[in-house]
């Protein structure tokens, strides 16, 4: 076993999946937002909703395309770097990923075609239905990915046969309390991402004094949705804590920076965990029973500390400890922004409150940071296990992978991803900067259902449109 190759493989997986998750979390939210816009356009008949729909459809196209492209790598990386894992868990993880791929392909690919070409060819209700189906497709994807990951967090419904995890009860794998607290948590996170990106765009237009009508709707709907969803998200976050506390005491102890068993437990708000000496430096702590109240909904419950867990089963304490606090911090800032912003919007004072508009504009990275740090908490906190309690990450790696191979692959991954990510972000930025087009939507000549990114072609190079018009 090559320990450096192991570390590099973990970094590579973390890098590629972090890069990937940015796009689906954005597009799941956007797909739902598009459905709402289309429904509003049908219900009210106001053209502004149609303009917004077509504007966000183009952004959806680029983000969706980047998500698909970066997702291809994920389908292979289990086999390349984690061949022992994929051999052992193939009978469970393989079918789940197959459901994800097949169903997403069906719903997203076929109905996305309707969104591009169908406006004049299908009845309005079917167009709305297609939008909803695309949203449903992205939701299905998220569901099966969450089932898969939840199984790795809390494996269930299997028996071990010849060194492989053999499923013996799919209902336990698909429908357990862990899935049903984690899947809504992720889904809400994606909706909040969409909401804040929309609100930030609206704030930007108000500040630049352009697209007044569209900007007001984006601000009001984005912040309003976030104001409603944020408290629900906090609730599901709390429910996630319960499964961690029940099934993964080592992760919980790391998140809480709790070294000793406590009954009832105290709550560390901020500290610097000093792993070597098993203590917290500069700790700000709420006295008992706040820890038990937060982790176990109880005034008296006993909470496990890291000292009663063998160190070889500890996660790297510092990462989940801080990642969790960053996630919660982002969540609280978003909650405050959404509530204050919605209140001001209700009082018709938001458009004149430039500081808050600036804050809203700069808030768009927050949901992404919260999602990434949330995943860091979940995944790094699961260590040293890949299938919690059963299979160690170190034992799951391809045994003959060398440091040289892992270094080469990581370097080229970083180079290629940085390259396409820079351009992708730049094109999305340019689209948003240009703003919605208040003219009938012309489908670019090369746009097709299978090429979501092509929707924005004409938009991005106006000079070619002029040249084309002269022909």
């Amino acid at each position: 076993m090559d320990m450096t190759a192991l570390l590099l493989s973990r970094i590579q997986f973390a890098f590629t999946i972090s890069f990937h998750i940015i796009f689906p979390s954005f597009t799941i939210g956007l797909a739902a937002w598009l459905t709402v816009l289309e429904a509003m356009a049908l219900a009210t008949g106001r053209p502004v909703y149609r303009v917004l729909f077509e504007f966000w459809l183009k952004i959806f196209g680029i983000a969706f395309g980047l998500g698909v492209v970066s997702g291809i790598v994920m389908a292979f990386q289990f086999g390349t770097n984690w061949s022992v894992l994929s051999k052992m868990t193939g009978p469970i993880q393989g079918p789940l990923l197959m459901y994800e791929t097949f169903w997403a392909f069906m719903l997203e690919a076929s109905f996305f075609g309707v969104l591009i070409f169908g406006r004049s060819r299908v009845p309005p209700w079917f167009y709305l239905f297609s939008t909803a189906m695309v949203a449903l497709g992205t939701t299905f994807s998220a569901f099966f990915i969450m089932v898969n990951n939840s199984w790795m967090q809390v494996p269930s419904g299997y028996v071990m046969e010849n060194g492989a995890f053999v499923p013996d009860d799919w209902t336990k794998i698909l429908f357990n309390s862990v899935v049903w607290s984690r899947f809504p948590h992720m889904l809400l996170a994606a909706y909040l991402t969409g909401a804040f990106c929309v609100a930030a765009t609206g704030a930007w237009y108000v500040l630049r004094k352009v697209y007044h009508a569209e900007a007001r709707i984006m601000l009001r709907m984005g912040l309003g949705l976030a104001a409603v969803l944020m408290p629900i998200q906090l609730l599901f976050g709390h429910l996630n804590g319960e499964y961690v506390n029940t099934y993964q005491p080592s992760k919980m102890a790391a998140i809480e920076g709790r070294w000793n068993d406590e009954k009832p437990g105290s709550e560390v708000l901020f500290a610097w965990p000093d792993v070597e000496h098993r203590r917290n430096l500069f700790a700000i702590t709420l006295p008992p029973p706040f820890g038990s109240l937060i982790d176990s909904d109880s005034l008296t419950a006993a909470e496990t500390g890291l000292n009663s867990i063998p160190p070889e089963n500890w996660p790297p304490v510092v990462i989940p400890f801080f990642a969790f606090r960053i996630m919660v911090g982002c969540g609280l800032v978003m909650l405050a922004l959404a509530w204050v912003g919605s209140y001001l919007s209700y009082k018709h004072r938001l458009a004149y409150n430039r500081p808050l508009l600036w804050l809203t504009f700069f808030s768009f990275p927050l949901p992404f940071i919260a999602i990434l740090t949330g995943w860091f908490t979940a995944e790094v906190g699961r260590q040293p296990w890949v299938v919690f309690g059963v299979l160690r990450t170190a034992d799951a790696m391809t045994p003959f992978l060398t440091t040289t191979e892992a270094t080469i692959s990581l370097v080229i991954f970083c180079a290629v991803y940085a390259f396409i990510f820079l351009f992708g972000t730049f094109y999305i930025y340019r689209l948003i900067h240009t703003g919605p087009a208040r003219k009938p939507f012309a489908v670019p000549h090369l746009a097709v259902p299978n090429r979501p990114m092509s929707l924005a072609d004409e938009e991005l190079i106006p000079e070619s449109t002029h040249a084309g018009a002269g022909e």
Binding site: G65, V68, V69, S70, I72, V73, A75, F76, F78, G79, T80, N81, S83, V84, S86, K87, T89, G90, P91, I92, G94, P95, L97, M98, T101, F102, W103, F105, M106, A109, E161, A164, V166, P167, W170, T398, F400, E405, I408, S409, F413, V416, I420, F423, G424, H445, L446, V448, P449, N450, R451, M453, S454, A456, D457, L460, I461, E463, S464, G468
Partner: protein, 327 residues
């Protein structure tokens, strides 16, 4: 149930080779073409289909993982570096395809990525097949060939051969879909590429004889295997005739038949092994509970729907594309 998933796997691989083969081929020929008119005509001949073509690769991967996890784990880890380079090649060309229309100044960067990515991905696919035919070094059910165990002269030869083969398929597609200059150039490229593929097949066969590759023994044991090469030979004759007559459509179908016969030849000479002479289909198959779960939720209805979707998207796109792409 196992045979059902073998069938789906075979369909997926074959569709991937045929469909992505043609657009990877167009990608490589794109690198040789000059001038924006020709280039954009070539792109519009594959624009509506390339992404759908590539999904068959992902579908192949998930079928392998779900139904034959041992093969998935062994192959992907054995071909670690080439596979990752291939994936990045595919990503780069996919993104390039989209981004080249969003810029004028940087278009050359994306054009280079498109042609280069196509070439790299094709070469590695050929290399992988070559290394498999030659036989992977496996001890105790685990690959033991080292980081570059796949890098043999035979595998490199197969890599080059597949580049020629995909380019031929791409040229035939361009002859079928395009008009004017692009079609004429394609008609000039087809005979040259066809001769190249023929020369490659002769060399491969000679090499296999000289090295006495284990696959040859299968042929002596199973004479009925010659059905597929015979089919390929007939297709090659029809191809030669259609080249002489400058037909736009026949070359594509005959080359497709040649690919099918090559695929059938390989698959049947490996049978019942999935990784030649190491792991059989039965050894690799997932337990029944997994296969049945996938059968009801994916294989039975969704897979046929995906096939229908593929047929529909190709038939919507039938006929020639304009040289000036839509104007």
């Amino acid at each position: 149930m196992v045979m059902f998933w073998v069938l789906l796997l075979a369909i997926s691989i074959l569709l991937y080779v045929l469909l992505d083969g043609l657009d990877l081929g167009v990608g490589m020929l794109f690198g040789l073409a000059s001038g924006e008119t020709r280039r954009s005509a070539m792109l519009s001949a594959v624009a509506p289909i390339w992404d759908g073509n590539e999904t068959w690769l992902v579908i192949t991967a998930v079928i392998l993982w779900g139904a034959f996890p041992v093969v998935y784990a062994t192959l992907l880890s054995a071909f670690y570096l080439p596979l990752i380079v291939m994936l990045l090649g595919l990503i780069l060309r996919g993104v390039a395809f989209e981004f080249r229309y969003k810029t004028h100044r940087l278009r050359w960067v994306w054009d280079l990525s498109f042609a280069g990515g196509s070439l790299i991905a094709t070469f590695i696919q050929g290399l992988t097949v070559g290394a498999l035919v030659q036989g992977l070094q496996v001890t105790n059910g685990q690959y033991s060939g080292g980081a570059v165990g796949w890098l043999t002269p035979f595998a490199v030869l197969c890599g080059i051969g597949l580049c020629l083969g995909y380019a031929l398929l791409g040229a035939c597609w361009l002859a079928k879909k395009c008009e004017a200059e692009v079609r004429d150039v394609a008609h000039r490229q087809i005979p040259a590429l066809a001769l190249g593929v023929l020369a490659f097949l002769v060399v491969v066969f000679a090499y296999a004889l000289a090295e006495n590759l284990p696959i040859l023994h299968r042929w002596i044991e199973r004479p009925y295997l010659f059905v597929f090469p015979a089919m390929g030979a007939v297709a090659a004759i029809v191809l030669a005739l259609s080249i002489l007559r400058h037909n736009d459509h026949w070359p594509f179908y005959t080359v497709a038949v040649i690919f099918v016969s090559a695929f059938g030849t390989l698959a049947l000479s490996f049978w019942p092994y999935m990784i030649p002479f190491v792991i059989t289909i039965e050894q690799a198959a997932s337990p029944h509970s997994s296969l049945a779960f996938m059968f009801w939720g994916c294989g039975l209805i969704v897979f046929p729907l995906m096939l229908i979707y593929t047929v529909v998207s190709y038939s919507v796109f039938r006929g020639k594309v304009g040289t000036t792409a839509g104007h």
